[in-house]
Subunit: 445 residues, 2 copies
């Protein structure tokens, strides 16, 4: 059975209330697949399926579920249940789930945990979710520098287990100060008699307040599997593993795409009212800018009255400006997000985008001029349309490059506010130049 068939039989079983069959089908899924399934279900079916999942898998499933959907599921759980479900998870996953709980419930869940778990989870909760501290887990094996590899090997065999995603043991001194890494590869290939100190590599640990974004960048640049997290005194706090970094990258990427459309959450099936309310804000802001554009047009009512062709053609100027500008804007937002744009090259980027805008402005100005001329049999109308297009495409390039840079400088996410500001500029400038030029040069007298 492939994924789709399995999903279909599951939904069929659910709608015909064959709950045993649903349970059987669910038990064949990996927790991550169950999480994907829950994300793709409308709220009602989602809750039904959730109730049929064996309690011992609930934690793993939650750990793999997106924030928005997870928050929805957590609403249906008692603090005791949440504590039970998160008990056997890695500490970072447990903390991650608790961060999606309403604040007043976090306390009760922590109280339902046994003392050791409580302390571990609380230590991570003290860091912000989007920092190295919030991403780290504390399941790791620290070793001392002065013992031999042979001793370490025997110690591991005695432990009988190594935490998942462990590529290195972490070398610390008596004060728990981070010294370096002993990779499993080196442990397996170097001489038994060598000491950990001789064998370890001394990569730098990262500070607990490093942003998740910078952590992800480091993993990408250095091809890491795990990295130790240290406090400001250099003491070992925990480690971050690549599986959590994958999630960071995936979320950041989604964040840009969604923000640019004014979407905040990521739940396909968020309740209608909450979706509508969230998007209403965005539409309201857009409405303000649309009215601003209308007001500009309104200044030229007399002109339009005398030459209705202007009303027919004016959306073209605004639309082309919007599209060209959003190309520059997208490139800039992405460049900023990847850290490729800085004050050393922003000027070069702006000039390049201006050149691209001018080039395309020229080409398409000729095309629209000819079309307008043939359509309305008026060569000067065509020329004015072409001129307005060139101006708007150059302004669009400028705005597309400057808006995100400025927003970034004043600490606003360019992905969120950039698009609305850009369209405001291209609409207003587009209508104003076209109608303004027409008023100056086309009207009799």
């Amino acid at each position: 059975m492939n994924e789709n068939q399995r999903l279909e039989s599951l939904l069929e079983a659910l709608s015909s209330e064959q709950f045993d069959r649903v349970r059987a089908l669910l038990s064949e899924l990996h927790p991550a697949e169950t999480a994907d399934l829950l994300e793709s279900l409308p709220p009602k079916a989602r809750v039904k399926i959730w109730d049929l999942i064996e309690p011992e898998f609930e934690g793993d499933v939650l750990a793999h579920t997106q924030d928005a959907v997870r928050a929805d599921l957590l609403e249906h759980m008692q603090p005791q249940e949440v504590a039970e479900a998160t008990k056997d998870l890695e500490t970072d996953d447990a903390a991650d789930i608790l961060q999606d709980l309403p604040e007043e419930l976090v306390g009760s869940v922590l109280l339902s945990m046994d003392a050791q778990n409580r302390e571990r989870v609380a230590s991570i909760l003290s860091y912000h979710e989007d920092t190295a501290g919030g991403l780290m887990n504390i399941d790791m094996i620290p070793v001392r520098a002065d013992v031999t590899l042979d001793v370490v090997s025997r110690y591991l065999r005695q432990l009988g287990e190594i935490p998942e995603q462990t590529d290195s043991l972490i070398v610390v001194d008596r004060q728990n100060k981070y010294l370096g890494l002993l990779s499993l590869a080196n442990l397996l290939t170097r001489k038994h008699a060598a000491t950990v100190g001789e064998t370890m590599t001394t990569e730098a640990g990262i500070s607990a307040d490093t942003s998740a974004h910078d952590v992800a960048k480091l993993f990408e640049q250095r091809d890491l599997i795990s990295v130790p997290v240290i406090d400001h005194e250099g003491k070992l706090l925990g480690r971050i593993t690549v599986d959590d970094v994958l999630d960071v990258i995936q979320e950041e990427a989604g964040h840009t795409v969604l923000s640019m459309a004014g979407l905040g959450e990521d739940d396909l099936f968020a309740p209608v009212l909450s979706s509508a309310k969230h998007r209403a804000v965005w539409l309201g802001i857009n409405l303000l800018t649309a009215f601003l554009a209308s007001w500009v047009i309104g200044r030229f009512e007399d002109t339009i009255q005398q030459l209705v062709a202007l009303a027919v053609l004016m959306p073209i100027v605004a639309s082309m400006g919007g599209v060209a500008g959003s190309q520059t804007l997208t490139l800039s937002i992405r460049g900023l997000a990847l850290g490729q744009i800085n004050k050393n090259n922003s000027r070069a980027l702006m000039f390049k985008e201006l050149a691209v805008g001018a080039f395309n402005g020229l080409i398409w100005a000729c095309v629209v001029a000819v079309v307008a001329w043939l359509w309305f049999k008026d060569i000067s109308l065509g020329v004015i349309l072409g001129l307005a297009m060139i101006i708007n495409l150059i302004v669009a390039a400028l705005a597309g490059a400057l808006i995100p840079l400025t927003l970034k400088r004043i600490g606003v996410d360019p992905a969120i506010a950039g698009g609305v500001l850009l369209t405001t500029v291209t609409d207003v400038v587009g209508f104003m130049t076209f109608l303004g030029l027409a008023t100056l040069f086309l009207l009799p007298g």
Copy 2:
């Protein structure tokens, strides 16, 4: 020195032609940082810096550079140089670089390699870049099931080295058929006398023709570090490591953002002409749809002539439809990319989006109706504007949900074509309903 300061002194040294200082500063950078630097430089400075990089690091830097920038750098290299630079890379990285070369040069580079390297690289080049085969590397350690862990340990110590990103040795039979994985963790914690066969886990390998997208999904779901790649007979071909999966996820994410703006490449500083040409296509397509909208407006020239307020207000209807529609579109495109939308839930999604659209249509229709009434002292104009807005927001929701589903079904990337189609619908429907309703109900007689 932080990254920015380092970059500044580097650029300063470059512009004052202190090449020894540039070389010294470059030598302090990790190849990945050098790659980031090259990506953020305009073409001229980029080539200058590239010429100052020590030949032995060229390969590592290329391996960390984005496709578009890499292609630019490769243009400045001789086949012999490329062969030299890729010699010491992991096979998958070398193959990846060769895939960015013009086809006629790949042959000469392969010929400049020694026989063993040539064979290894060629074996990967035979798979498409975006499949498991194209992502895999062949640096791995296969072991037999019937030997003991003790023997494996001694063998590793004799080898003296384990390929990077190795979390498991791969168990194969005499015919090189893939049997299972022996994790380094198990090798270190289980009894010496146990055999590999008893200790190994039997995770499934993935087929060489699996898409890169599905490979990334598997890594995310299962928190993998590496996975074996097998052919259709179950024979071991290579393995994929998580560092390459990070790149896949990062590229896919960028691809969606860039495609939605009609951008193909990812090079901030692509030459003006090539950028302009690429974007001209997109602008040309948009121009066609803008003319279509204009043509619709043109059908109502007489109406506008009699009531110029219509020209003033009509962009509002189109703009709000475009924004609301692109919210639904973005959500759908992302849902499809993440595999969250399928034929079982697409109907539920559409109804939800329709409800959201209708809800927001109603709210903002009231607002625009009142504003238009107060502005133009004409209550029926306000009502018509509100009505057109409701209709366009409902149509926008429908289009935003149906367009990507339909494109996906016919095999077109919704991220590329979705936006243009959507705006065409919301512009045409917006202008047509507003001006049409006005013609029916507002004109005298």
